[in-house]
Symmetry: C2
Subunit: 192 residues, 2 copies
DNA sequence: GCAAAGTATGGTCAAATGACCACGTTTTTC
DNA sequence: GAAAAACGTGGTCATTTGACCATACTTTGC
């Protein structure tokens, strides 16, 4: 599991070998089964998470028991409940594996030490956060302005690697539409 | 206009006087009339903006001509199109005054210099950005999970200082519901 | 490999929503 | 202060959406 992560560090971050070693030494590998929780709402999010393989979903359960998905994260992505992690407050969301997932965790202290000692890592982290901010604004705009069909088409366009791996009801829970509406859209698109 | 901003700096940021002066000296005051554009989609966002009084709205126009509001910003808040500002790419949103507004602008270079020389300002900026991230996630969650009525109630709860100053159609454009639905909700709430 | 769980689709029906239009009132602008 | 623009509400009607349920099929987990 760590060797793939090493590859990511050297290729995507272009980190030299001697900077990779300290990152590995505080890494905590973690295997998750389908539907296993990585973070439970109410707990404090104490780790940064990198996904080696698999998919995680970040979701919350509304008063009437419905699940709403804030985010999917898959291979070579990082995830956490940022608010809970920063402020050390109870998480309001759950993070669970959609499919069997290999992840790597770092404790907050360890990761902060890495950020302080590895400028390249820090720079890269900032970039990732910025990109997330831009993406989230776009997602919000779509959520308030697009029709269900546009939302679905958008999702396919932005997440081609996920469509075949996610059950439809999760896509619906991510888009904020009902499963029924989603299957109707798919049905309609068959004959066009 | 600048004196109110000075007060903000010393009270909210607790900046000592000698750190306030450099911020003021690169500040560009700007008065906006109702509906006047501060940033036009297509242009690059080249300024950080602080609002002394008034309200700005950040919005985009969809293909069919509808306006969708990404954000309202009012007194003592900062605003910009962060993606356009960071990457110096054409903005995809417009920023315009909802009511007559007094704002203060800084050029990116000037503001970056301030951030580099004033650690307190930098720290405060980071905090603001973090808070925005948390808020935006909550807003997204509401957008995909709440009923129109819940969205409206949420809006009132989170923006009590704005409700009386915004026309309903803008609130609708912010919530992603039609004006008709919004007036229906208000009507229903009268008799409860 | 097999039982159990999960998944995709479709039917039906009630309710919610939006598009369009009209009208009386309020606010803005000069 | 008067004309014009903007605003809030309501009516109607077609359409979309969701809730609930059933069924056939596929995937999962041991």
């Amino acid at each position: 599991m760590l060797s793939e992560f090493k590859k990511y560090l050297s290729e995507s971050l272009e980190l030299p070998d001697q900077e990779i070693q300290p990152i590995l030494s505080s890494a905590i590998p973690r295997k998750l089964r389908r539907n296993e929780l990585l973070l439970q709402a109410g707990d404090v999010c104490r780790h940064k998470v990198f996904i080696v393989s698999g998919i995680l979903r970040t979701y919350s359960i509304s008063a009437n028991g419905n699940e709403h998905i804030v985010q999917f994260s898959s291979e070579k992505e990082w995830t956490l409940d940022i608010e809970s992690y920063d402020l050390e407050t109870p998480a309001t969301v759950n993070i669970a594996a959609v499919e069997p997932t290999d992840a790597i965790l770092w404790k907050k202290n360890d990761f902060n030490a890495l950020l302080a000692s590895l400028p390249l890592l820090k720079k890269y982290s900032k970039q990732l956060i910025s990109r997330k901010i831009y993406e989230n604004r776009q997602r919000l705009l779509t959520a308030i302005s697009a029709t269900p069909e546009e939302k679905y088409d958008d999702f396919i366009r932005n997440n081609p690697h996920l469509i075949a791996r996610l059950p439809l009801h999760m896509i619906a829970a991510y888009l904020g539409i009902s499963l029924k509406t989603l299957t109707r859209i798919r049905h309609a698109q068959l004959y066009r």
